[in-house]
């Protein structure tokens, strides 16, 4: 649509001018850009601008409520010499990797279990989704109480079974704390995988299973050579989504452990929060947050291209 309308002649009567304005507005490109302008401006102001401003902040020494001074890459140098930063990096990758694998395997198992006929299936499916829809902070508080050092309900049973008192310190031991946040993240994300994969399973034509059975395929072979290949696109999308938001997770860790004990569960987002909001170092905090960008950008670009291709 590169053809421009004829310029109006000076003698055009108002009605004709109004009519040609109408014609102009009716063009697909004009209508589209006018329609999209408000949301695009909104996103430019509150996503685009903060994003660029964040990059600028990361290059400044900027204590809260002070004017920033440009320091180049000094903040990033500080990060790379900081032992806690590397611990945080390791934590984030471990957390994302294990939680994603657990959600994928568990979600597939959930979907396969739910892909059978049984009474009250819709009710069960609705209940299964509850962990995913309830505000994360509120369910995390419940987990915090389940794992309480003194009154953990798990420990009550373990002690009843003969484990010496007071039982494991779920959030006080570095390894157990990491295990706990991984399990809770899995608990919350599992329904998303399960229900999405279930929808995928329901689109698999039954004839394919019948054909595979006639060809002598057993249950595992039907799963391996019929189900998995057909589910692959859905698994890929769900996993990319989940990896992005697990990698940048904040609320669960902030509420449950605040990154402790001794930074054993500190992730990029919680560490950046500590530095920026706790210690008031906006520049340094922004630099920690931005170190997530390369990995996130790769994932986001991959997923964006994949979604567009569909």
């Amino acid at each position: 649509m590169s053809i421009r309308s004829e310029p109006l002649t000076g003698s055009a009567r108002p009605t004709r001018r109004a009519a040609s304005l109408g014609v102009w507005l009716d063009r697909q490109s004009v209508f589209s850009w006018l329609m999209m302008a408000p949301p695009l401006l909104f996103l430019a102001a509150l996503v685009g601008y903060p994003f660029c401003y964040g990059i600028l902040l990361s290059l400044q020494d900027r204590p809260v409520a002070h004017v920033g001074t440009f320091v180049g890459l000094k903040n990033f140098m500080t990060d790379f010499k900081d032992a806690i930063f590397w611990r945080v990096t390791l934590n984030t990758f471990v957390y994302t990797a294990i939680a994603t694998v657990l959600k994928m395997v568990g979600g597939l198992a959930l979907a396969l279990a739910m892909n059978q006929q049984f009474p009250m299936k819709n009710l069960v499916r609705a209940l299964m989704l509850l962990p995913f829809i309830v505000p994360t902070v509120l369910s995390t508080v419940a987990w915090m109480w389940i794992l309480d050092p003194a009154f953990s309900v798990f420990n009550w049973f373990l002690i009843a079974l003969g484990v010496p008192k007071p039982g494991p310190s779920w959030l006080g031991n570095p390894v157990l704390a990491m295990g706990s946040i991984i399990v809770i993240n899995t608990w919350r994300g599992l329904p998303f995988y399960g229900i999405t994969l279930l929808a995928g399973l329901q689109t698999v034509p039954p004839e394919l299973y019948e054909a595979a059975t006639i060809d002598g395929a057993g249950g595992w072979q039907r799963f391996r050579y019929v189900t998995l290949p057909l589910l692959q696109p859905i698994i890929l999308i769900v996993t990319l989504f989940s990896v992005i938001f697990t990698f940048a997770d904040f609320q669960l860790v902030y509420v449950l452990t605040h990154g402790g004990p001794q930074n054993a569960t500190n992730l990029f987002a919680t560490y950046a929060f500590d530095i920026a909001m706790g210690a008031g170092q906006l520049g340094l905090g922004a630099s920690v947050a931005l170190t997530m960008l390369p990995a996130l950008a790769l994932l986001i670009i991959a997923l964006t291209i994949y979604l567009r291709r569909r």
Partner: protein, 281 residues
């Protein structure tokens, strides 16, 4: 598929795994409910079997509603969720309609940008946004979160609606165009009324996401009168090292109920939106 399992095989293949997942999913909610109904004497007694309530009491609920600002937080949460959902739906339609229906240069690029913006997680933006909100003098106002929640919700609604719009047949709009209706008129009178299910899906998701939001609310809202439920519960029911577990669990349960109710009415729309493969997990 193969049918005709025996009862034992059905138990192993169906009821054991489904039962396991169901107990796993629901136990924390059961535990919230049980804890919130226990008197403190029972709550902090390690000798009593903890899974059931022996002397139920509503004391924690009464304390929560009378001694804390929980009702104010609930009102704030609802107000913010409703307003930001409404804003996001309107702006989302304004993005999605041209992308779904019009042919113009740059459409592909805009669609890519919307998808990418939707995938940008909050921790990448919260520090500069905090500074921005400060400079605009919007700290401790609900406007701060009403403005920032749509940054996640607009691209999200636009993306979900774009998918939905593409499934709506074009004949009615073409007929309206032939009858001389303008583009805006065609969109508002003919097209949008056909898309109610899409709006419900996007609306519920946006509503749940705003109820769930924590980071921006934590940073922007530091006074009790403007807090939302998640921030209020974390900031005011945990005082130093003192945890008011009974009230915390009562608050967690009451705070979960609005989302759960709305969700239960529209669960099919929710699942439809979820499985369109465009939801944050």
């Amino acid at each position: 598929m193969v049918t005709g399992y025996g009862p034992i095989e059905r138990l192993v293949r169906l009821w054991l795994p489904v039962g396991f997942f169901l107990v796993l999913a629901l136990f924390p909610f059961y535990w919230m409910a049980v804890t919130s109904l226990k008197p403190n004497a029972e709550l902090y007694n390690r000798r009593i079997m903890p899974l059931v309530v022996h002397n139920p009491t509503l004391k924690h609920y009464i304390d929560l509603l009378t001694e804390t600002s929980f009702l104010v937080w609930t009102w704030n949460t609802m107000l913010v969720a409703v307003v930001s959902t409404a804003i996001s739906l309107v702006l989302g339609v304004m993005l999605a309609y041209p992308l779904a229906r019009m042919r113009f240069a740059g459409a592909g690029l805009i669609a890519m940008t919307v998808a990418a913006v939707y995938l940008v997680p909050q921790p990448l933006l919260f520090i500069p946004l905090a500074d921005l909100i400060n400079r605009l003098d919007l700290g401790n106002t609900l406007t701060a979160v009403i403005l920032t929640y749509p940054t996640m919700l607009v691209p999200f609604c636009a993306w979900l609606l774009l998918g939905y719009f593409k499934t709506v047949p074009m004949e009615l709009e073409e007929a309206a165009r032939i009858d001389g209706a303008g583009r805006l008129q065609t969109m508002r009178r003919i097209f949008l009324p056909l898309c109610t299910p899409g709006f419900i899906s996007a609306g519920i998701f946006a509503f749940t996401l705003s109820q769930n939001e924590f980071l921006y609310a934590l940073i922007f809202l530091t006074q009790s009168a403007v807090r939302t439920v998640p921030v209020g519960v974390i900031a005011e029911l945990i005082r130093g090292d003192v945890f008011y577990w009974g009230q915390l669990m009562a608050g967690a349960l009451l705070g979960s109920i609005p989302v759960a109710i709305i969700y239960s009415f529209f669960v099919e729309h929710y699942v439809a939106g979820l499985t369109s493969g465009s939801v944050k997990g």
